[in-house]
């Protein structure tokens, strides 16, 4: 079979070009060019079989990962869950109040989820405690993606206010320093 992909047809078109245009209607050149038409016809069978295979695999319920495999993956992920940092929020003479970084970042993500146009990403929290003063200062470093086309400064300010309310409401201390970095835009 004379499918010489590196070579061009007599009309100058390459096989790769024709293959790339298989699922598009013929160009005005192809409508008049017998060489292109013949090449297209030869490859039509491969294209159709490929599309048929893609579609039948996609819709074949057997062509999926069994649930017990998914469960094993998630069980292992849970078992190896990255140990979350414990943040000491308050030390008193009777004991300490601790919270996991993940629980605190969940609060922050919830706050972010309430703001349209913001998707929270990585979140790092540091605590500076002053034992003598009995005070705790949080530094929250949150990275976000914002919807393209929104007013970024206003939206980020709205998020900061939301976090400033959510932390005291959730754990009873001030949010402290809230650093928000917009690292990406996502398409709506």
């Amino acid at each position: 079979m004379a499918l010489e992909d590196t070579r061009r047809l007599g009309c100058g078109r390459s096989i790769d070009q024709i293959w790339a245009g298989m699922d598009q209607p013929p160009t005005s050149h192809e409508e008049d060019c017998e060489l292109c038409q013949a090449a297209k016809a030869r490859m039509q069978k491969i294209k159709e079989a490929t599309v048929a295979l893609r579609e039948s695999d996609l819709h074949n319920p057997e062509m999926t990962l069994p649930a017990e495999r998914t469960n094993s993956i998630m069980a292992l992920a849970r078992a190896e869950a990255r140990r979350s940092k414990r943040l000491v929020l308050r030390g008193t003479e009777y004991g300490t109040v601790e919270i996991s970084e993940q629980a605190l970042s969940s609060l922050i993500r919830l706050a972010a989820a309430a703001i349209p146009g913001i998707h929270s990403r990585r979140c790092r929290i540091e605590v500076q405690s002053d034992a003598e003063m009995g005070s705790t200062h949080l530094t929250i470093n949150l990275r976000v993606a914002t919807a393209s086309g929104i007013d970024i400064p206003a939206t980020v300010e709205g998020l900061r206010q939301k976090i400033n309310k959510a932390i005291p409401a959730g754990v009873g201390i001030d949010a402290g320093t809230v650093n928000i970095t917009v690292e990406d835009l996502y398409d709506v």
Binding site: I46, A52, T64, R78, H119, S120
Partner: protein, 198 residues
Amino acid sequence: MNDSNPACDADTDEGSIVARAQDGDLAAFEHLVHTYQDRLFRLAYRMLNDRTDAEDVVQETLTASWRALPMLSDVKAFGGWIYRLATNKCLDLLRKRSARAETITDPAEIHSTLDDGATRAPLEADPVASAEWAAQQDGLTTVLNTLPAVQRACWLLREIHGRSYAEIGVTLKINPTTVRGTLARARRRIAEGMSQWR
């Protein structure tokens, strides 16, 4: 544990979900598992022609991704990265199969591991194998299984999974021009094979 966190409503962009999974968020990771597990299974099954091997590859790939996620620097690269992990696990397995074939003396076993092992007969109990008999009538899957492993990977990644030339090049450690050449060779062999089948 924060499985209940608002990680993953349908419209959250994948980059954000990946970033949360990097932070150890299990709900976000589970979302990624559900997004990719069946695609990877379809790829692995067509590469390996063996249901159990394909399931193993997908499970190992996704498990490895959980461990390595924090090292991924570009959250938008997750899709390409996970396809790369899975493809290379398939190629490794096929290499092992053919290495095994060289040391096997039983002719029946040799037959079953020829051609990178891809043509070994599926088990009769394999539901995928019987369900696909109709699809096989056009000969494409049969011909695919006679292709060298890298050509088959190229074809599946590009024509079935729609991955980019650049990404396939990175996956197979070849440049995008070579990807095009490899696809062209695969296409020629498929054309030849399918015309014989008819």
